[in-house]
Protein backbone atom coordinates (compact mmCIF):
# COMPACT_ATOMS: atom_id res chain seq x y z
CA UNK A 1 0.00 0.00 0.00
CA UNK A 2 1.06 3.56 -0.77
CA UNK A 3 0.15 6.55 1.36
CA UNK A 4 -0.10 9.95 -0.27
CA UNK A 5 -1.02 13.28 1.27
CA UNK A 6 -1.39 15.68 -1.66
CA UNK A 7 -1.58 19.43 -1.11
CA UNK A 8 -4.15 20.12 -3.84
CA UNK A 9 -7.42 18.57 -4.93
CA UNK A 10 -6.16 18.28 -8.52
CA UNK A 11 -3.19 16.28 -7.34
CA UNK A 12 -5.53 14.04 -5.35
CA UNK A 13 -7.77 13.48 -8.37
CA UNK A 14 -4.72 12.56 -10.45
CA UNK A 15 -3.49 10.10 -7.87
CA UNK A 16 -6.86 8.38 -7.71
CA UNK A 17 -7.23 8.29 -11.49
CA UNK A 18 -3.74 6.96 -11.98
CA UNK A 19 -4.00 4.08 -9.53
CA UNK A 20 -4.47 0.72 -11.25
CA UNK A 21 -5.41 -1.12 -8.09
CA UNK A 22 -7.78 -0.21 -5.32
CA UNK A 23 -7.61 3.38 -4.11
CA UNK A 24 -9.30 4.87 -1.06
CA UNK A 25 -9.69 8.38 0.25
CA UNK A 26 -8.69 9.04 3.84
CA UNK A 27 -10.52 11.82 5.65
CA UNK A 28 -11.16 10.88 9.28
CA UNK A 29 -10.29 7.25 8.66
CA UNK A 30 -12.71 5.95 11.27
CA UNK A 31 -14.35 3.62 8.77
CA UNK A 32 -11.40 3.07 6.43
CA UNK A 33 -8.96 1.89 9.09
CA UNK A 34 -11.55 -0.44 10.59
CA UNK A 35 -12.07 -2.06 7.20
CA UNK A 36 -8.32 -2.38 6.73
CA UNK A 37 -7.86 -3.88 10.17
CA UNK A 38 -10.49 -6.54 9.54
CA UNK A 39 -8.86 -7.50 6.25
CA UNK A 40 -12.07 -6.72 4.36
CA UNK A 41 -10.16 -4.07 2.46
CA UNK A 42 -6.55 -4.05 1.30
CA UNK A 43 -6.16 -0.84 -0.69
CA UNK A 44 -3.14 -0.26 -2.91
CA UNK A 45 -3.32 3.49 -2.43
CA UNK A 46 -4.67 5.68 0.34
CA UNK A 47 -5.02 9.38 -0.43
CA UNK A 48 -5.12 11.53 2.69
CA UNK A 49 -7.05 14.67 1.77
CA UNK A 50 -6.55 16.51 5.06
CA UNK A 51 -3.57 18.51 3.83
CA UNK A 52 -5.57 20.00 0.98
CA UNK A 53 -6.56 23.60 1.56
CA UNK A 54 -10.16 24.03 2.66
CA UNK A 55 -10.80 20.43 3.54
CA UNK A 56 -10.88 21.20 7.24
CA UNK A 57 -12.76 24.50 7.01
CA UNK A 58 -16.34 25.58 7.60
CA UNK A 59 -17.27 28.75 5.71
CA UNK A 60 -20.43 30.71 4.97
CA UNK A 61 -21.68 30.37 1.41
CA UNK A 62 -24.88 31.61 -0.23
CA UNK A 63 -26.48 32.18 3.14
CA UNK A 64 -25.68 28.62 4.10
CA UNK A 65 -22.48 26.75 4.84
CA UNK A 66 -19.67 25.04 3.01
CA UNK A 67 -18.23 22.24 5.11
CA UNK A 68 -14.90 20.81 3.99
CA UNK A 69 -14.84 17.07 3.47
CA UNK A 70 -12.47 16.40 6.36
CA UNK A 71 -14.13 18.62 8.99
CA UNK A 72 -14.48 16.43 12.06
CA UNK A 73 -17.66 16.05 14.07
CA UNK A 74 -16.13 17.79 17.06
CA UNK A 75 -15.35 20.82 14.88
CA UNK A 76 -18.96 20.99 13.68
CA UNK A 77 -20.05 21.00 17.31
CA UNK A 78 -17.79 23.93 18.07
CA UNK A 79 -19.23 26.10 15.25
CA UNK A 80 -21.86 28.20 16.99
CA UNK A 81 -23.50 29.65 13.88
CA UNK A 82 -23.80 26.27 12.19
CA UNK A 83 -25.24 24.71 15.31
CA UNK A 84 -27.76 27.48 15.62
CA UNK A 85 -28.86 27.25 11.99
CA UNK A 86 -29.00 23.51 11.38
CA UNK A 87 -28.99 21.89 14.83
CA UNK A 88 -30.38 18.62 13.48
CA UNK A 89 -27.48 18.18 11.08
CA UNK A 90 -24.91 18.96 13.74
CA UNK A 91 -26.56 16.66 16.27
CA UNK A 92 -26.64 13.85 13.74
CA UNK A 93 -22.96 14.23 12.93
CA UNK A 94 -22.14 14.43 16.63
CA UNK A 95 -23.83 11.07 17.23
CA UNK A 96 -21.21 9.25 15.16
CA UNK A 97 -18.98 7.28 17.49
CA UNK A 98 -17.19 8.33 20.65
CA UNK A 99 -15.45 11.56 21.61
CA UNK A 100 -12.33 10.05 20.07
CA UNK A 101 -14.09 9.20 16.81
CA UNK A 102 -15.57 12.72 16.83
CA UNK A 103 -12.03 14.03 16.73
CA UNK A 104 -11.68 12.54 13.25
CA UNK A 105 -14.92 11.39 11.62
CA UNK A 106 -16.36 13.69 8.95
CA UNK A 107 -19.80 13.98 7.38
CA UNK A 108 -18.39 13.51 3.89
CA UNK A 109 -16.72 10.32 5.06
CA UNK A 110 -19.94 9.18 6.68
CA UNK A 111 -21.69 9.85 3.37
CA UNK A 112 -19.13 8.14 1.13
CA UNK A 113 -18.86 5.08 3.37
CA UNK A 114 -22.41 4.51 2.12
CA UNK A 115 -23.69 2.67 5.13
CA UNK A 116 -27.49 2.64 5.26
CA UNK A 117 -27.18 3.38 8.98
CA UNK A 118 -24.99 6.49 8.63
CA UNK A 119 -26.27 9.03 11.14
CA UNK A 120 -25.51 12.24 9.29
CA UNK A 121 -27.07 11.23 5.98
CA UNK A 122 -30.79 11.35 6.88
CA UNK A 123 -30.21 14.73 8.53
CA UNK A 124 -28.35 16.05 5.47
CA UNK A 125 -30.97 14.78 3.05
CA UNK A 126 -33.69 16.30 5.20
CA UNK A 127 -32.19 19.77 4.82
CA UNK A 128 -31.51 19.19 1.12
CA UNK A 129 -27.73 19.32 1.39
CA UNK A 130 -25.53 19.10 -1.70
CA UNK A 131 -22.18 17.44 -2.17
CA UNK A 132 -19.45 19.16 -4.18
CA UNK A 133 -17.80 16.46 -6.25
CA UNK A 134 -14.46 17.03 -7.97
CA UNK A 135 -12.98 14.75 -10.61
CA UNK A 136 -10.93 14.83 -13.78
CA UNK A 137 -14.04 16.05 -15.60
CA UNK A 138 -14.41 19.02 -13.30
CA UNK A 139 -16.59 20.02 -10.39
CA UNK A 140 -20.28 19.21 -9.93
CA UNK A 141 -22.86 19.64 -7.25
CA UNK A 142 -24.93 16.57 -6.45
CA UNK A 143 -27.77 16.11 -3.97
CA UNK A 144 -26.37 14.24 -0.98
CA UNK A 145 -29.08 11.62 -1.39
CA UNK A 146 -27.62 10.63 -4.76
CA UNK A 147 -24.14 9.77 -3.51
CA UNK A 148 -24.81 6.37 -1.86
CA UNK A 149 -26.37 3.92 -4.30
CA UNK A 150 -26.34 0.73 -2.23
CA UNK A 151 -24.68 -0.47 0.98
CA UNK A 152 -20.96 0.32 0.55
CA UNK A 153 -21.45 1.67 -3.00
CA UNK A 154 -21.52 5.24 -4.30
CA UNK A 155 -22.21 7.04 -7.55
CA UNK A 156 -18.70 8.54 -7.52
CA UNK A 157 -16.30 7.77 -10.36
CA UNK A 158 -12.93 6.31 -9.48
CA UNK A 159 -11.17 9.67 -9.60
CA UNK A 160 -13.92 11.66 -7.91
CA UNK A 161 -13.73 13.15 -4.45
CA UNK A 162 -16.42 14.78 -2.36
CA UNK A 163 -14.69 18.06 -1.62
CA UNK A 164 -17.34 19.66 0.55
CA UNK A 165 -20.90 19.47 1.73
CA UNK A 166 -23.12 22.48 1.15
CA UNK A 167 -25.90 23.28 3.55
CA UNK A 168 -28.47 25.66 2.09
CA UNK A 169 -29.62 28.91 3.63
CA UNK A 170 -32.33 28.18 6.14
CA UNK A 171 -35.80 29.37 5.09
CA UNK A 172 -37.74 31.34 7.69
CA UNK A 173 -39.65 29.38 10.33
CA UNK A 174 -37.80 26.18 9.54
CA UNK A 175 -36.46 23.61 11.93
CA UNK A 176 -34.58 20.34 11.59
CA UNK A 177 -33.98 17.40 13.87
CA UNK A 178 -32.48 13.94 13.78
CA UNK A 179 -33.01 11.05 16.19
CA UNK A 180 -31.72 7.53 16.15
CA UNK A 181 -32.39 4.44 18.18
CA UNK A 182 -29.55 2.49 19.73
CA UNK A 183 -29.72 -0.06 22.56
CA UNK A 184 -27.02 1.65 24.58
CA UNK A 185 -26.62 5.40 25.08
CA UNK A 186 -23.48 5.65 22.96
CA UNK A 187 -21.10 3.70 20.73
CA UNK A 188 -23.72 1.82 18.71
CA UNK A 189 -24.67 1.94 15.06
CA UNK A 190 -28.18 3.28 14.45
CA UNK A 191 -30.84 0.57 14.47
CA UNK A 192 -33.25 3.17 13.10
CA UNK A 193 -32.68 6.82 12.26
CA UNK A 194 -35.10 9.61 11.34
CA UNK A 195 -34.34 13.11 10.08
CA UNK A 196 -37.02 15.74 9.71
CA UNK A 197 -36.91 19.27 8.34
CA UNK A 198 -40.09 21.28 8.27
CA UNK A 199 -41.27 24.83 7.64
CA UNK A 200 -44.35 26.51 9.08
CA UNK A 201 -46.20 29.66 8.18
CA UNK A 202 -47.37 32.45 10.47
CA UNK A 203 -50.40 30.45 11.57
CA UNK A 204 -48.26 27.47 12.53
CA UNK A 205 -49.33 25.37 9.58
CA UNK A 206 -46.67 23.20 8.04
CA UNK A 207 -45.93 24.36 4.49
CA UNK A 208 -42.98 22.15 3.64
CA UNK A 209 -41.49 19.01 5.10
CA UNK A 210 -38.82 16.47 4.34
CA UNK A 211 -38.78 13.25 6.33
CA UNK A 212 -35.84 10.89 5.85
CA UNK A 213 -35.51 7.43 7.34
CA UNK A 214 -32.20 5.70 7.98
CA UNK A 215 -31.14 2.09 8.63
CA UNK A 216 -34.45 0.74 7.39
CA UNK A 217 -33.52 0.13 3.76
CA UNK A 218 -30.45 -0.28 1.54
CA UNK A 219 -30.32 3.53 1.23
CA UNK A 220 -31.92 6.29 3.25
CA UNK A 221 -35.60 6.75 2.43
CA UNK A 222 -36.96 10.21 1.62
CA UNK A 223 -40.64 9.62 2.19
CA UNK A 224 -43.24 11.70 0.36
CA UNK A 225 -46.01 10.01 2.29
CA UNK A 226 -44.44 11.18 5.53
CA UNK A 227 -44.10 14.73 4.20
CA UNK A 228 -47.74 14.68 3.13
CA UNK A 229 -48.80 13.62 6.61
CA UNK A 230 -47.35 16.88 7.92
CA UNK A 231 -47.90 19.46 5.18
CA UNK A 232 -51.06 21.45 5.69
CA UNK A 233 -51.38 20.41 9.32
CA UNK A 234 -50.43 22.11 12.57
CA UNK A 235 -48.24 19.11 13.28
CA UNK A 236 -50.67 18.18 16.01
CA UNK A 237 -51.12 14.76 17.55
CA UNK A 238 -53.33 13.56 14.72
CA UNK A 239 -50.78 14.60 12.12
CA UNK A 240 -47.97 13.04 14.12
CA UNK A 241 -49.90 9.78 14.36
CA UNK A 242 -50.33 9.83 10.58
CA UNK A 243 -46.64 10.60 10.19
CA UNK A 244 -45.72 7.67 12.42
CA UNK A 245 -47.91 5.31 10.44
CA UNK A 246 -46.56 6.60 7.14
CA UNK A 247 -42.96 6.24 8.36
CA UNK A 248 -43.52 2.67 9.52
CA UNK A 249 -45.17 1.90 6.20
CA UNK A 250 -42.29 3.44 4.26
CA UNK A 251 -39.63 1.48 6.12
CA UNK A 252 -38.23 -1.60 4.40
CA UNK A 253 -35.95 -3.02 7.10
CA UNK A 254 -34.30 -6.40 7.46
CA UNK A 255 -33.65 -8.69 10.42
CA UNK A 256 -30.04 -8.57 11.49
CA UNK A 257 -27.80 -8.55 14.53
CA UNK A 258 -28.87 -5.02 15.37
CA UNK A 259 -32.62 -5.41 15.33
CA UNK A 260 -35.62 -7.23 13.97
CA UNK A 261 -37.72 -6.15 11.04
CA UNK A 262 -40.76 -5.79 13.26
CA UNK A 263 -38.92 -3.71 15.83
CA UNK A 264 -37.38 -1.42 13.25
CA UNK A 265 -40.71 -0.86 11.55
CA UNK A 266 -42.34 0.16 14.83
CA UNK A 267 -39.51 2.37 15.99
CA UNK A 268 -39.26 4.16 12.65
CA UNK A 269 -42.69 5.64 13.28
CA UNK A 270 -41.83 6.59 16.84
CA UNK A 271 -38.63 8.37 15.87
CA UNK A 272 -40.17 10.17 12.91
CA UNK A 273 -42.86 11.50 15.24
CA UNK A 274 -40.41 12.53 17.94
CA UNK A 275 -38.03 14.17 15.46
CA UNK A 276 -40.94 16.09 13.88
CA UNK A 277 -41.90 17.44 17.31
CA UNK A 278 -38.40 18.75 17.88
CA UNK A 279 -38.21 20.19 14.36
CA UNK A 280 -41.53 21.94 14.96
CA UNK A 281 -40.31 23.54 18.16
CA UNK A 282 -37.22 24.72 16.33
CA UNK A 283 -39.30 26.07 13.45
CA UNK A 284 -41.27 28.05 15.99
CA UNK A 285 -37.97 29.51 17.14
CA UNK A 286 -38.10 27.86 20.54
Amino acid sequence: MRYEAPKSIDEAVKLLGGEKGQARILAGGTDLLVQMKSGRLEPDLVVDIKRIDGMRKISSEKGGFRIGAAVAGAELGEHAELKKTWPGVVEAARLIGSTQVQGRASMAGNLCNASPAADSVPALVAVNAMAVVVGSKGRREVPVADIPTAPGKTSLAKDEIVEAILLPAKPANTGDAYLRFIPRTEMDIAVVGAGVCLTIDGSGTCTAARVVLGAVGPRVILSDACAKALIGTKVDDAALAKLAAAASAAATPIDDKRGTKEFRTDVTGVLAKRAAKIALERAKGK
Binding site: M1, R2, Y3, A5, L26, G29, T30, L33, V34, M36, K37, S38, V46, D48, K50, A72, A74, G97, S98, T99, Q100, V101, Q102, G103, R104, T185, E186, M187
Partner: protein
Protein backbone atom coordinates in the same frame (compact mmCIF):
# COMPACT_ATOMS: atom_id res chain seq x y z
CA UNK B 1 7.86 -2.06 0.42
CA UNK B 2 9.50 1.27 1.02
CA UNK B 3 8.83 2.82 4.37
CA UNK B 4 7.63 6.30 5.14
CA UNK B 5 9.70 8.76 7.12
CA UNK B 6 7.76 10.56 9.82
CA UNK B 7 8.87 13.52 11.95
CA UNK B 8 6.59 14.19 14.83
CA UNK B 9 6.39 15.57 18.35
CA UNK B 10 5.35 13.32 21.19
CA UNK B 11 4.77 14.86 24.61
CA UNK B 12 6.86 17.81 23.50
CA UNK B 13 9.83 15.74 22.35
CA UNK B 14 10.83 15.44 18.70
CA UNK B 15 10.78 11.94 17.26
CA UNK B 16 11.55 10.49 13.86
CA UNK B 17 10.69 7.04 12.69
CA UNK B 18 10.08 4.93 9.60
CA UNK B 19 6.77 3.16 9.24
CA UNK B 20 4.74 1.09 6.84
CA UNK B 21 2.09 2.95 4.86
CA UNK B 22 -0.73 0.99 6.46
CA UNK B 23 0.67 1.06 9.98
CA UNK B 24 -1.61 2.49 12.66
CA UNK B 25 -0.17 5.23 14.86
CA UNK B 26 -0.77 2.96 17.84
CA UNK B 27 1.67 0.37 16.49
CA UNK B 28 4.28 3.03 15.75
CA UNK B 29 3.99 4.48 19.27
CA UNK B 30 4.23 1.07 20.88
CA UNK B 31 6.65 -0.81 18.67
CA UNK B 32 8.83 1.93 17.18
CA UNK B 33 8.92 4.54 19.95
CA UNK B 34 8.56 2.16 22.91
CA UNK B 35 5.60 4.12 24.28
CA UNK B 36 3.43 1.20 25.38
CA UNK B 37 1.10 3.23 27.63
CA UNK B 38 -1.50 3.30 24.85
CA UNK B 39 -3.04 -0.17 24.61
CA UNK B 40 -4.75 -2.10 21.84
CA UNK B 41 -8.05 -3.34 23.21
CA UNK B 42 -9.87 -3.66 19.91
CA UNK B 43 -8.02 -2.00 17.02
CA UNK B 44 -11.32 -0.66 15.72
CA UNK B 45 -11.96 2.49 17.75
CA UNK B 46 -14.52 0.87 20.02
CA UNK B 47 -12.71 0.70 23.36
CA UNK B 48 -10.59 3.85 23.76
CA UNK B 49 -7.63 2.08 25.38
CA UNK B 50 -5.34 3.59 22.72
CA UNK B 51 -6.54 7.16 23.26
CA UNK B 52 -3.99 9.90 22.57
CA UNK B 53 -4.28 13.51 21.50
CA UNK B 54 -3.43 14.57 17.97
CA UNK B 55 -2.93 18.33 17.79
CA UNK B 56 -4.99 18.64 20.94
CA UNK B 57 -7.90 16.49 19.78
CA UNK B 58 -8.71 13.14 21.31
CA UNK B 59 -8.33 10.29 18.86
CA UNK B 60 -8.05 6.55 18.93
CA UNK B 61 -4.48 5.98 17.81
CA UNK B 62 -5.57 2.68 16.25
CA UNK B 63 -7.67 4.69 13.79
CA UNK B 64 -4.89 7.05 12.73
CA UNK B 65 -2.17 6.09 10.27
CA UNK B 66 1.31 6.64 11.63
CA UNK B 67 2.13 8.47 8.42
CA UNK B 68 -0.52 11.06 9.22
CA UNK B 69 1.39 12.09 12.33
CA UNK B 70 4.08 13.81 10.28
CA UNK B 71 4.42 17.36 11.54
CA UNK B 72 1.71 16.88 14.17
CA UNK B 73 1.78 17.03 17.94
CA UNK B 74 0.91 13.87 19.83
CA UNK B 75 0.13 13.60 23.53
CA UNK B 76 0.20 10.26 25.36
CA UNK B 77 -0.17 9.03 28.92
CA UNK B 78 3.62 9.06 29.25
CA UNK B 79 3.53 12.85 29.06
CA UNK B 80 0.85 13.40 31.66
CA UNK B 81 2.86 13.62 34.85
CA UNK B 82 5.28 16.49 35.33
CA UNK B 83 8.44 14.68 36.34
CA UNK B 84 7.67 12.95 39.59
CA UNK B 85 4.62 15.12 40.18
CA UNK B 86 1.48 13.32 39.09
CA UNK B 87 -1.28 15.16 37.27
CA UNK B 88 -4.22 15.76 39.65
CA UNK B 89 -6.28 13.23 37.69
CA UNK B 90 -3.62 10.57 38.16
CA UNK B 91 -3.53 11.30 41.88
CA UNK B 92 -7.32 11.20 42.20
CA UNK B 93 -7.56 7.94 40.26
CA UNK B 94 -5.26 6.43 42.87
CA UNK B 95 -7.09 7.92 45.84
CA UNK B 96 -10.53 6.91 44.56
CA UNK B 97 -9.43 3.40 43.58
CA UNK B 98 -10.64 4.28 40.09
CA UNK B 99 -8.70 1.43 38.54
CA UNK B 100 -8.71 -2.29 39.03
CA UNK B 101 -6.77 -4.07 36.29
CA UNK B 102 -5.50 -0.76 34.91
CA UNK B 103 -5.51 -1.60 31.19
CA UNK B 104 -8.08 1.08 30.36
CA UNK B 105 -6.60 3.63 32.77
CA UNK B 106 -4.18 5.41 30.37
CA UNK B 107 -7.00 5.96 27.87
CA UNK B 108 -9.37 7.23 30.53
CA UNK B 109 -6.77 9.63 31.93
CA UNK B 110 -5.86 11.10 28.55
CA UNK B 111 -9.55 11.51 27.68
CA UNK B 112 -10.48 12.98 31.07
CA UNK B 113 -7.61 15.46 30.97
CA UNK B 114 -8.77 16.65 27.56
CA UNK B 115 -12.30 17.09 28.94
CA UNK B 116 -11.16 19.17 31.89
CA UNK B 117 -9.09 21.36 29.60
CA UNK B 118 -12.25 22.16 27.67
CA UNK B 119 -14.78 22.13 30.48
CA UNK B 120 -13.59 22.89 33.99
CA UNK B 121 -16.98 22.21 35.52
CA UNK B 122 -18.60 19.25 33.80
CA UNK B 123 -21.76 17.61 35.10
CA UNK B 124 -21.78 13.90 35.86
CA UNK B 125 -23.74 13.32 32.66
CA UNK B 126 -21.20 15.28 30.63
CA UNK B 127 -18.35 13.27 32.10
CA UNK B 128 -20.14 9.99 31.40
CA UNK B 129 -20.87 10.87 27.76
CA UNK B 130 -17.39 12.28 27.14
CA UNK B 131 -15.90 9.03 28.41
CA UNK B 132 -18.42 6.72 26.73
CA UNK B 133 -15.79 5.72 24.19
CA UNK B 134 -13.49 4.43 26.91
CA UNK B 135 -14.58 0.98 27.95
CA UNK B 136 -13.86 -0.29 31.45
CA UNK B 137 -14.93 -3.79 32.33
CA UNK B 138 -13.74 -3.81 35.95
CA UNK B 139 -15.17 -0.84 37.81
CA UNK B 140 -18.69 -0.21 36.58
CA UNK B 141 -17.34 3.35 36.03
CA UNK B 142 -18.56 4.59 39.42
CA UNK B 143 -15.17 5.37 40.94
CA UNK B 144 -13.78 6.66 37.64
CA UNK B 145 -16.57 9.21 37.33
CA UNK B 146 -16.15 10.22 40.97
CA UNK B 147 -12.40 10.65 40.49
CA UNK B 148 -12.90 12.89 37.47
CA UNK B 149 -15.58 14.99 39.19
CA UNK B 150 -13.43 15.33 42.29
CA UNK B 151 -10.40 16.35 40.24
CA UNK B 152 -12.44 18.97 38.41
CA UNK B 153 -13.61 20.40 41.71
CA UNK B 154 -10.11 20.47 43.14
CA UNK B 155 -8.62 22.04 40.02
CA UNK B 156 -11.28 24.74 40.07
CA UNK B 157 -10.37 25.54 43.66
CA UNK B 158 -6.65 25.71 42.92
Amino acid sequence: MSQIHVSTTVNGDAYEFLCEADEPLLDALRDRLGLTGAKEGCGTGDCGACTVTLDGRLVCSCLVLAAEADGQKIGTIEGMADGEKLHPLQQKFLEHAALQCGICTPGFLVAAKNLLERNANPTETEVRYWLAGNLCRCTGYDKIIRAVMDTAQEMRRA
